[in-house]
Symmetry: C2
Subunit: 347 residues, 2 copies
């Protein structure tokens, strides 16, 4: 949030969370990483992988049946499976600060669990071998701040594309009537389109708050064809909240967040996407339960959770819209704004 | 399909599949069941449960790791968990015809595996105890036909509601460029709304073919509040195709079909929904593989599957739109057409 506490429609509106980007562009490189750092003490974490071509690290630790409850950071990275090495830089950065899963007598004896997921951007800058590494992961952790999250061609979105247009990083947040805050950061890199072919409008724009999305429309880009070789992508998401959730509740939240992808991108969750949503719940405030008949206690809790689950989908949809609006043209990949046709000053 | 082979935008356009409805309405009852019968020899089957309050039967048998590969029928039922008894009627009907999983020396020694899922409609007709039973399941199997699927207040959609409006049964189909046919039948009964509050339009109408959806708009209905007690629902789907799929491929298809729910209903997949998608793949025709570089064989197969996965989402979205359009007002539940405001002859 801003210094005066005003929400900035950014994941960092969720108290205690910080986001850092690092990227390499030029000299054949067009890739990067984005780190979401939890508050001191970590956050309850979960993941839901719905894409058919995922590249992930430390996701099994997040299974609700397994030991680790909280993690200190999540990494989104370019570079496909190679980019997962960037998580090592974040692991080292956390270890130096004594943050991680405590496994020994000394406070420094921690194992930082850094769940990570990769998106496909190999070769988009020209050099097939230019990929995020541990040093870039460390840079992103160093850069992490609670300022509004930078959007567009930054971090893990540096080399991202979406349905033939330039993709990138987007963010959004919501303050719920209950007082809970929920925010999302997305790296939008999809086989499918963010643009409704019938109207040229961003799918996500239909789910914006009043005034949130400008009335920009673009000619739909031609869908890629099989002749061009394999089309590989992946949209990555981190949802953060200050609510108290169990790991299982956080996993359900990750699931409904995927509905936000479905509304903003079409098609989605294909074999050629590795679409993955992480959730981080700091537990700074209890799940706010509405008052009502105690016989309906389970329904009252469900109502409070449903509010959060529905908000996750909507916030992810809006963040995807912001990502596409913020992206800049690079090389052969035109931005939505540069393809815009209905305004003199689209770009 | 029609007698002359013309597609009818119905699940029964998929060769060999039949659909039967049975319901009870009046004297306090407002509920029913819908059976989808596979062609002789059964269909490879899968399920994906994404709602938080499911009621199901025989879904574990569909896990790709487990023994049974093909099933002969799937049942959608009202009556919440009580309604699952209706599957017994379909099991008996199939046993009498020697259809099922062969377990003995005699051809008659079969165990029919009938996966089923229930939606919540208890008390909507006035009598809390009026629920589908085995006799009603048998009636639906007897009634099954390859004629276009009846829509609206029929079968498992008889007591369905959606976001305060009357829900019901809907269907849609698509013939893919590859020649494969895919169809869906849905029983729409959601906590969330099928109507965009900003425009009064059906969410699904934006995904229709030219001319498929009339330009009807309605005042959004007030969302239900927690004061009314628990809100329980569930949208149920069967997707059928004539393509050859493995159980695992069919399960992935069930997953992307859920994206169709996300686009037509908002919010969706809540704790108060038991949203469940079944897939039946008859295997009457091979998965159509495009030609291309043999080095990309896995990508070519992925492309063929992606076409099917994307079509499943779109077909489910359209079927949900058809369900809401076809529903008739009952008691306190107004239909979308009766709430329509922008046409003189809305209803």
């Amino acid at each position: 949030m801003a210094d005066d506490g005003t929400p900035t429609n950014s994941l960092t509106d969720v108290p205690g969370f910080r986001v850092g980007h690092a990227h390499r562009a030029g000299d054949g490189a067009l890739t990067g990483v984005t780190v979401v750092l939890a508050p001191e003490g970590g956050a309850v974490a979960a993941v839901d992988v719905r894409g058919g071509g995922p590249g992930t690290r430390e996701t099994d630790a997040l299974d609700p049946r397994n030991l680790v409850q909280r993690v200190d950071a999540v990494l989104l990275t370019g570079g496909s499976a190679f980019g997962l090495d960037a998580a090592g830089g974040v692991v080292g950065w956390l270890e130096e600060r004594g943050r991680g899963f405590r496994v020994g007598a000394e406070p420094s004896q921690v194992v930082p669990v850094v769940p990570a997921a990769a998106l496909f951007d190999l070769g988009r800058g020209g050099d097939w071998k230019a990929r995020p590494d541990a040093a870039l992961g460390r840079d992103a952790a160093d850069a992490a701040t609670d300022a509004p999250v930078a959007q567009g061609n930054v971090g893990a979105g540096t080399g991202a594309v979406v349905g033939g247009l330039k993709g990138g990083i987007g963010t959004a947040s919501v303050r719920l009537p209950s007082g809970a805050t929920l925010g999302a950061v997305v790296a939008v890199n999809a086989v499918g389109s963010a643009v409704d072919p019938a109207t040229g409008e961003l799918y996500a724009a239909r789910f914006g708050r009043p005034g949130e999305f400008p009335d920009l429309r673009a000619e739909p880009s031609a869908p890629s064809t099989a002749d061009e070789g394999p089309s590989l992508n992946t949209t990555l998401v981190v949802v953060a909240t200050d609510t108290t959730l169990t790991k299982a509740q956080a996993q359900k939240l990750a699931g409904t967040a995927h509905d936000g992808l479905a509304r903003a991108l079409r098609p989605v969750h294909l074999l050629s996407d590795g679409d993955t949503v992480f959730v981080l719940a700091s537990g700074a405030r209890p799940l706010p339960l509405p008052e009502g008949d105690p016989a309906f206690a389970v329904h009252l809790e469900a109502g409070a959770l449903n509010e959060l689950y529905a908000a996750a989908a909507d916030t992810v949809t809006r963040a995807i819209g912001h990502a596409v609006l913020a992206a800049d043209s690079v090389g052969e990949f035109s931005s939505f704004r540069d393809k815009c046709t209905n305004q003199p000053n689209c770009g």
